[in-house]
Assembly symmetry: C2
Amino acid sequence: MTSTEAQDDTAARSTVRPTRQRRAVAAALAGLDDFRSAQEIHDLISQQGGSVGLATVYRTLAALAEAGEVDMLRNEDGEAVWRSCSDAHHHHLVCRTCGATVEVEGPAVERWTSAIAREHGYADLSHTLEIFGTCPRCV
Amino acid sequence: MTSTEAQDDTAARSTVRPTRQRRAVAAALAGLDDFRSAQEIHDLISQQGGSVGLATVYRTLAALAEAGEVDMLRNEDGEAVWRSCSDAHHHHLVCRTCGATVEVEGPAVERWTSAIAREHGYADLSHTLEIFGTCPRCV
DNA sequence: TGGCAGTTGAGAATCATTGTCAAATCATCT
DNA sequence: AGATGATTTGACAATGATTCTCAACTGCCA
Ligand SMILES: [Zn+2]
Ligand SMILES: [Zn+2]
Ligand SMILES: [Zn+2]
Ligand SMILES: [Zn+2]
């Protein structure tokens, strides 16, 4: 996950309805512990008898990520994958085979990145830090 | 950049010719200090009177990255961008506006990621760590 | 100079992601 | 309930980056 959060959203007036589709996506994510692509989440919902358009899955995932409800990162192939995580800022140790994830925290790393960036005069920071590997179950 | 390097390449017999196209791509990279997309590098070569097919630019960049000659990372939009860097393993502080880059090293971070991963039984590791921001010149 | 593996480029093909827009839903107010 | 207006959805088109295809071309070396 990145460290910058989109907060403003000038049109803070708009209602966000908890529709059947959005509940389905949220439920699918809640039932998972791994990072999954939009396509996989879409398929999962279908397999469970649900029916949500792929575009809606993308829109919902984007909204959830925007709201900080889920984390999105790009796997080694550049594809976006999502997962519902804890609230606190953290990073991930992800199995590149099955997506199994471990949330990790590194206060020292956070401080280090800020210091480095500031030192070089960079502002409006964000950072990505993900560890990929093969989990014990995937040999 | 990631920490794993592709080494084997079973067909280690193949010759790698220093063609006009490959030289053009290498030269373009040498004349840059920022991370750029394949398209940008392609355009740059064209502007300087050169002519190299976009597919060849992609192929050459992939080969150079494979050989460790250049670093490839994905910007916040998920696009792949390349840059010729120093040999040692390092990470980057990148301006999300102009691509201006500062190479950074963090031995402590390297140790930390390895420890965390090992601790959870993950093998065959690699990691990504990039810091994005707005450089001094881009306000 | 011939032969050939390695290379190239134009264009098609993939594929993830986003845009379009009419139809469907929902919330609210008579 | 019925009307009304905003929000949401989904089928499908459109993008855009990256890869694939394959016939033509080239660098190398006997
Ligand atoms: Zn696994
Ligand atoms: Zn962090
Ligand atoms: Zn800049
Ligand atoms: Zn590192």
